[in-house]
Symmetry: D4
Subunit: 253 residues, 8 copies
């Protein structure tokens, strides 16, 4: 149950439209719903104020479809499924509204919410091969209610490509910089922008790329301030964190 | 020159209190002031809207003192000097207001600004040996205008120590989680909090710690969403990024 | 070689009945001769007394089936086959009582023994993807005569899931903590429990997980006392050691 | 939070005596609130019941002396100080009974307790250079109330040295196997003994030893069952775990 | 931004025709605005002037065929496609002149240009298994207008094979030394030749070769002057750089 | 170049019959010219005098068959083909006497020579999974004219298995010790035997074995004298070197 | 003896000003002059056409002074001493013209030659801490007869600093790009320039810099063509190679 | 006690010149003489037929002197002390014949034996910085009764230096090839010689040398047959093994 939903429930209790007992029942069913393969943690929604996410890797199509059914039955509107195969996408019950984004290996059940973040999240990549990770990040951010601008293939070896987007960069509230190989994009963007930059190293490359180690180390050693790093190929993590930063304001309004 | 200072200057031009020529002169002297050992980048202040920072490692006491003198002459109010030795601290001219914080190896010229960030930054460490990195982060954040709460020695091997501070954790706008050895603090805090968590691995430990590699990898692989990582022992980077996030709101007010 | 035997040998040299070269050879082999290997071997047979174990990886179905037949013919009641494929399971002769546990890739010939260990072994995992390793550990422990409690998917990013099982944790005699990614589970459990914790890093994860290196290093650097580590994905080793600890008492009764 | 408490809270929301925001905050903190931290803490105090431990590395002589004074004033009889320098030892107040063991870099305040463990802990090393780590392990075990047998310099390159101690090995309840370089000692002992073997890799060696990596990997890959590993040079951790295992019985008597 | 432009801006601020915020934004973007990106881009087009290059890895046959069609339509004569599969080669429209070189995984659209470099580029390999990388390098250099001499299988374990080609080595203008395993070829050639040597480590080998790490480190540590290194298996990069060096003269004639 | 030759050259320069540039080139190539490469080559042919060796990995069945035909036509009696697949074996012309050893992935054309080495080569393995590497070593040694004794599955976790073969170990002239996982076999044998021990780490294992790194480092750090190491899984190299040592005597008779 | 010197000698022989015998004597004394600690390789000068270089690391001041004396006695005009300590500099005989450059740890005996290279070598660094390596490169290039332009502290985190030097970059014949931390400078320059770029990773940084590994991998994975890499901190190697490239033309005039 | 000594003793028993009881006493005192810090393993002498060796690293001057005294009192003629500091050398009692070799950090008590090996051991190094390791190897071999030829500074970057010693290389019975940096010497020598080559990687180098890793990997991947490797900087191990090989013949005379 999302924080928004709990607040709504409490407000319904406060204004009398939902009786205490019904609210209690809803909350009681919350934290540990046993599904057989995993304890779905609805409470996590509460604490972190976002929609529910299913990590699709290592789960069978049937398992994913089952979790989706259960979540929807539990009132969850939007569900994001990451690292989802085409086969798993085909197993989702046609009774749910559902879109599968192949490049980002992401399935989204329910409608994308209206963007309610403070500003725009820019998702930039060094090359075209980084696009699957970028789409995972961008779709995650969109599913969590953010306006997203994509700047793909603006790697530092052709600096003018990046510089021609200075306006998007200067106006972003958060930037996700995604690159494999030498991973220099994060530093260059970090030096240009005055907003938080979330760097995502990718495993794109060969040889001394060592599965993403080169861009990972490069990004961790960035000499630009305001840059932090998530795991190699972790587009979801970057999109999630960017959304969190982009929604910060509401909390303290 | 800080963004604030440039805005102030422009406003003085707008209201006529500073003539165009004088403003032009001030701006002209800006971007590249040649000091001999380094091109001080005052323009950087403009782009990133913060006070000036000197990275003290590898600079002689005389070099640091000289840069400070030049910056102050250029109108810079607050200057943060990181990785500063006691000897370098002793070399700062007594004519500048100056405090040296030994544990964090940080010197601050000028007065700490009033906190003007949106919320509170929590700086948490796994152990007492992580405190130098934590102080670097905390003092950086304070020097950049943030309210900081310190939660030191709340490592996961004694979970109740951390849980007894749930209120600070739930109320933070940004949390900096600092830990060496197994670096589990970031994941545990990331699972509890609903705000961005900046993880700082430290080189504290021995043996298979491999100079901070263990906590670095641990933090990069955090299963908690909302966690990103900076370089090993990079307290400054974490404090800077936390401040950036904590000041985001103003931009879009 | 006893002093008496050496004296006898020297006397044979002195009286010429043993040539110098032969005596020299005997002396060279001396330190290892008197050990009684058969006894050693016998001893090993004695002390295991429960299930024999076959390491299935790299063996053909036919080889495994053959070993099982031979062991059973030799009177072995329970046989544990680890890293066993479905194909190998299908090759076991139907004349043996046999169960194949697919998740843990373990086959058990004969009946599970009655638990005769001192207490209970808790097998805990950080996520659902760690379950194959956990089942290998749990079934091994059961096959060796232990009561096992499974706590799966209690990773530290949702701390309340783990904390809701404090009673099982406090009552365990040995705990096997299994986790991939950041491997923080071992430290958190190690800080809560007052019994030996055997940590099993898993290769679950991606990117900077580097095949289990992240959780391995994390567990080796655990700041909690009472934690030791076995090889990545080594569920069997953890189950075997846990059983050994859980049966210690009998020896000294 | 009990169901009753949640119902009460919801009723307060319903009757307006608790605002929605406050209720939301209470629900967010709920999963961790009811644990009874003080009790947990107390529990930890109870279960160790022997020596308190101070990790001396990174603490000044004055800090250590101060902690010792405070602990003793608090009624603590025996205090173990690990990684203690000679200078720190000299700073301990002469009013406390105190012995400093230089080789193991361990100081012990108060008298060693009478051994109350079930059996004997064997501490074995591959070479003489491993003795500092071994003494840290052995003295830790003694300070925690264990009978300890030392078998030093019994490395596998001179196998007869180890084999001449078969009796101690077969009679041990726990064995701590300490070795640098190729770390083979743990496997050989693990193959001979029928009790838990705690392997401690040391940083002894040079070249491709890589600071203990060679023996660490060797021990993690041990083909002998019943072997687990702690961090490089972690004599204390091994001694503590060995003592824990050696005291298991009392709990279930 | 010229001084004149900044003065004009300030005057607009002073007379109120430009608001402070807009002026601030203009100043922030100032350092990059005057670069003339189109010119930069044009320049890059100019300076390559020979073959365009398509990096085929990760592109579908259809994508590659489409890019080729577009380039040809745009007037590009010669097109080099690296890391090209046989399937992609089959997808190239028969209307283009096209040759596919299987060993080097390179396709060339259009005719090879007449060599117009200053001298000869020698491409040498340690073994026959290094030939795919070597062909990538050699064909790249040929497509860029260079005379190429191939010396394959002249590894250092049979030194006379290399020494029998001393004349080619002494007459080369650039040498590309390609080797896997111990990578010694680069050092030996570097010690013999008096021209730049571009070393290409390959992933050829097994075991402690670690995917090319052994030859990479070996080449980086070459004790011969004049040797530099490109990424593992990066035949294209070596061929491109060699061509660049071999065409240097024209520029300064 | 002899002094006489240089004098002659200088005189030709002096009298103008050789231009300066030509003389310069001759002097540049001088140090390598007088080596007599053919003699070198011939020498190599002489010294091997037994089996020629083909490294089968990366060669097609047709290539291997062709090389064999050519060698046989050239008079070569015995040919050893390593890393040979079953398919390649099937492609060998039936007109050659040929045996394929599947486990060691070795094909031998022609008859094995009579053993003419000085003593016996012992090939020992830690486990049964190391047998492919061992067979590569043993068959190589046999094809090069050596008496070979196989001691398989004598790993250190069951020491008595090894010790029951003390006589073979004490009588060996060279021992090849092959092991994966912790690789302790080399050290134990090295401590027992008084002959050269060639250690072969294997990639057998999982997890922290890291493809053979664990046994490689273990063997390099062996505390037993007389042990040297070849590449991971390099059975051929060990067999070749063992044969070389076992044939040393003849040279100096 | 440098190639120039030998050519001069030959020309003197050709024009009769030096008799054959005297020339022979000079050449005879050449290749292996035994100095006790090292075979000075004067012949190397011949093959590679440059001045003599002494690698000062690991040599005593006396050894260096002795080698210098011998070289000068042998007619060597300019001698470059790299990795030279202040103490070694003080030990050079005052009878030689000598300058010591402390930052680059380079001593130069004799006068710097007039630049005779084709164009200009640009030496660029990311930060001020990279300057020692840069000076080693720049002074090496100067000592070998090159015009050098220094662009220090133009790292990518402040892109305008680099871009303000576009003219120097576009006009360079070779560029040496030196950077530690994330090493992105090489890629950015490689993307801007149309000449060979020699990348030098430095060990500047901390934490996940791992002694230069981060910038090394970053540079090896550069997505810009025309970039090759030398060893970490190898300023000399870069300067030497740059000079070689900058002098290429003469050879084929 | 060396094997020679035991044989002599047995012969004295056989010819009656030593009574059985006296021989028994001598043998009984043998295997484990307790010296306080280490069990001196005289028996090791027996098994391996060589003089005694003390590994000096990590032992105090007093400990070393004490061990020497005890060994000499026990009849040991020649004692080799490796990794010995000048201070330890000064502590050796003047009553023993003793020479200290500073470069190789080796002390030798007693006279060097007459060479009794079969042939000559060549010790070759790539550079002068490898000489300490080479001297350790060469002096070890000499102390064990071998004729040694030193070929220092014959690295592959100046191939003619190595080739000018072809005669020594072709006549060697064993070659020890010692090199740091790229370690190519072992492969080149392995390709030239027809005798066993023992490769010793050294930690000489900087940057991507990574403490000897580069030459270690290079040597392990040598494409020349007959090459095996010992630990980084392990001159003693190489000298010992070379001596073992060089003395093989006697055993089977």
């Amino acid at each position: 149950m999302e924080q928004r939903a709990i607040r709504a429930l409490l407000e319904q209790v406060a204004n009398g439209s939902v009786p205490v007992d019904e609210a209690l029942l809803k909350l009681k069913m919350e934290p540990f719903e046993e599904l057989g393969y995993a304890k779905l943690d609805h409470h996590r929604g509460l604490r972190q104020g976002t929609a529910e996410v299913i990590y699709g890797a290592g789960k069978t199509p049937e398992q994913i479809a089952g979790i989706v059914d259960a979540m929807r039955a539990g009132g969850q509107e939007t569900i994001l499924i990451t690292r989802m195969s085409r086969q798993s996408a085909d197993a989702i019950s046609p009774s749910h509204p559902f879109v599968y984004h192949e490049m980002g290996r992401i399935g989204i059940v329910g409608n994308l919410p209206e963007p309610d973040g403070v500003g725009t999240i820019v998702v930039a990549t060094g090359g075209t091969s980084d696009m699957p990770v970028a789409e995972e990040a961008a779709l995650t951010a969109q599913a969590l209610g953010n306006q997203v601008t994509r700047l793909y293939d603006v790697g530092v070896a052709g600096l003018h490509r990046l510089l021609s987007h200075m306006e998007e960069i200067m106006n972003a509230r958060v930037i996700i910089a995604i690159a494999g190989m030498e991973g220099a994009l994060a530093s260059v963007i970090g030096g240009l922008a005055d907003c938080p930059v979330i760097a995502v190293p990718t495993s794109v490359g060969y040889g001394a790329c060592f599965g993403g180690l080169s861009s990972l180390l490069s990004m961790l050693n960035s000499c630009a301030s305001g840059v932090s790093v998530v795991n190699i190929d972790n587009g979801f993590g970057a999109g999630y964190l960017a959304s969190m930063i982009n929604h910060l304001e509401g909390k303290h309004a």
